[in-house]
């Protein structure tokens, strides 16, 4: 465990857009729970506004978005933008799912901290969140 904080890291797991299933997101939510995270899961078909509103009320340390539909360029940078406009500059925003390599650099330039593709283990994601989530007093 990260000795810099004694309280669990809060993570919002969200499914932006029109994906038909959320198995990956649920597996990840469960896995992060087992890694000691507090996971808030919001379900399918979320707009960027809904995701940021939920993240604000829940005061999460991390927003993790899973997207399979191909609409990532339209939806993910918008979440970053909205978060910043609400003063949530210190929230780590990451993505996973089916995202072509060519788009990864563009997403990172837009403020998405990391993109986890197929084959990433939950342990890797947990380690990344622990290392990069803001430190709380």
């Amino acid at each position: 465990m990260d000795d810099a904080r004694s309280t669990p890291i809060r993570v919002l797991i969200a499914k932006p857009g029109l994906d038909g299933h959320d198995r990956g997101a649920k597996v990840l939510a469960r896995g992060l729970r087992d890694e000691g995270f507090e996971v808030i899961y919001t379900g399918l078909r979320q707009t960027p506004e809904m995701i940021v509103d939920a993240a604000e009320q829940e005061d999460v340390d991390v927003i993790g978005m899973s997207i399979l539909s191909g609409a990532h360029m339209a939806l993910l940078p918008r979440v970053v933008e909205l978060s910043k406009s609400r003063g949530m500059d210190d929230v780590l925003i990451a993505a996973g799912g089916i995202i072509p390599d060519a788009d990864v650099a563009k997403l990172k330039a837009s403020g998405i901290a990391e993109v986890f593709g197929p084959g990433t283990s939950i342990g890797q994601i947990a380690a990344y969140f622990r290392e990069h989530a803001r430190k709380r007093a």
């Binding site: 669990p8 899961y41 003063g87 949530m88």
Partner: protein, 309 residues
């Protein structure tokens, strides 16, 4: 993290991020929080505190969503704290109560916060109570506290509320379930949800029959029993009316005293545990009990006496 007083000022001004961060400070028992408490309680507007509890899967979240919709229609600003259990092994938690609330996510007059129970040492009942106080300072009314009614601590959270709604389903079991001690005893309002299922009216009749007998609830009137179908909204307006009607009877001096007694009792237990477990003799004393050199009650006495000196 920001200055706590500043967070409280933002909260009282109706800003959402300061409220969210104040709630985090409450959850984490942040340094300085104790000093803020008098101000936090003074900032309250007297919002109606409503506890919603019942077994897993009885439809609490869906009902909270339906009630929120009804209260929004009536122009009320609704605050919600939803408590889910933490894993005793990893400390992690999955909180899924938002799934049924996402249609209100963008509504600025609805504020929902998920809280993990984080084990007994954190004093979840106290944290929940303070979280409700923060929502009260922000002017939300009513304030709903949703808990899984699976254990004693959840019953206790419900008892801190002014109005406790217990949600059951038609398949809750036979009549003997209704006369067992526990959840049903603490209900101010009893709801049979999933009213579209066969047997819902029969279940409500059984509950009514059992709880109206003298043995049901010593010294208290039997609670109103209502049937709702949260998914369609049926019965929800009537439930909202009943909750509001209960508000005045919850605010008699006798009820206020009973609630205050519960609050102080809970705070005292949390405080004693917190101090004793942080004290120098905690480990030695626990080890002595493990080695059967000391019984648990003498151990507790020793820790308390030491703290008092």
């Amino acid at each position: 993290m920001g200055d706590l007083e500043e967070l409280l000022r933002g909260t009282a001004a109706g800003e959402r991020l300061p409220l969210a961060r104040l709630l985090t400070a409450i959850e984490n028992d942040a340094p300085g929080l104790r000093d803020l408490l008098p101000q936090l309680f003074a900032a309250g507007h007297g919002g109606h505190l409503v506890g919603i509890t019942g077994p897993p899967g009885s439809g609490k979240s869906t009902l909270v969503n339906a009630l929120t919709e009804e209260w929004r229609r009536r122009g009320r600003r609704v605050g919600i704290v939803a408590v889910d259990p933490s894993s005793p092994y990893t400390g992690g938690a999955i909180m899924g109560d938002r799934i049924r609330m996402m249609e209100h996510a963008a509504d600025r007059d609805v504020f929902m916060r998920s809280m993990a129970s984080r084990g007994e040492l954190g004093g979840i009942a106290s944290a929940t109570w303070m979280a409700a106080a923060a929502l009260d300072a922000a002017g939300y009314d009513p304030i709903l506290i949703e808990t899984v009614g699976a254990g004693q601590s959840e019953v206790e959270i419900a008892r801190l509320a002014e109005t406790t709604v217990v949600v059951e389903v038609p398949e809750m079991g036979d009549e003997v379930q209704a006369i067992k001690a526990g959840l049903l005893e603490v209900a101010d309002l009893l709801v049979v949800n999933k009213g579209d299922r066969p047997g819902a009216d029969l279940a409500a009749r059984h509950l009514r029959a059992m709880l109206s007998t003298a043995g049901g609830r010593v010294g208290r009137k039997p609670p109103p029993i209502m049937v709702t179908t949260a998914t369609s909204g049926e019965g929800v307006a009537a439930l909202a009316d009943a909750i509001e009607a209960h508000r005045s009877s919850a605010r008699t001096p006798e009820q206020a005293t009973a609630r205050a007694r519960n609050q102080v009792r809970r705070a005292l237990a949390d405080l004693a545990l917190r101090r004793a477990s942080a004290g120098p003799s905690w480990d030695v004393t626990v080890d002595a009990v493990a080695a059967r050199e000391l019984d648990p009650i003498s151990a507790a006495e020793r820790l308390l006496d030491e703290d008092a000196t």
